[in-house]
Amino acid sequence: MSDSFDSFSSGLENKSGDKELQEFLMVEKQKAQFNAQIHEFNDFCWDKCVDKPSNKLDSKTETCLTNCVDRFIDVSLLITNRFSQLLQKSGGM
């Protein structure tokens, strides 16, 4: 609040207004990306882990889902790192 008041008094109210909206949009965008990622994870982890739907997710399925997310991120990191090493070795970058 005091921040926007300061810029208001220095005649920069337009810029501070944009800033608040920009920050808001950035946060919302991050939240939307997080959600999109969960949709994607749930899509393929469901296929990998869930058999016939029953009254509740059994503990084996729950473990599988949790592991599925973590291992996918591991693979993603591993491939990213190895790929950048390969790029460096080939002198391309």
Binding site: N14, G17, N35, V50, K52, P53, L57, E62
Partner: protein, 88 residues
């Protein structure tokens, strides 16, 4: 962006609410599409002339489990993000 700076506080609040609402709708639509696709695949092996009661029961259960799974995946992903942040 020029005319955005002329917004009053109330207009800005309204705009933010609208953005939030649109994101929520898009999110719900995505979930709905995915659930329909996944539960159709799981529950209807051979499409008949109507949805029989066991198929309907299966779809209802599948929906609930898909949302359970979504929440579980969401939890696992946020925990992982937290862990990665602590490592930095």
């Amino acid at each position: 962006m020029e005319n955005l700076s002329a917004l009053t506080g109330a207009q800005k609040d309204e705009l933010m609410d609208q953005v939030k609402q649109q994101i929520a709708v898009a999110n719900a639509q995505e979930l709905l599409t995915k659930m329909t696709e996944k539960c159709f695949k799981k529950c209807i092996s051979k499409p008949g002339t109507s949805l029989d009661s066991s198929e309907q029961k299966c779809v209802a259960m599948c929906m609930d489990r898909y949302m359970d799974s979504w929440n579980l995946v969401s939890k696992a992903y946020s925990l992982r993000i937290q862990r990665e942040r602590n490592h930095m």
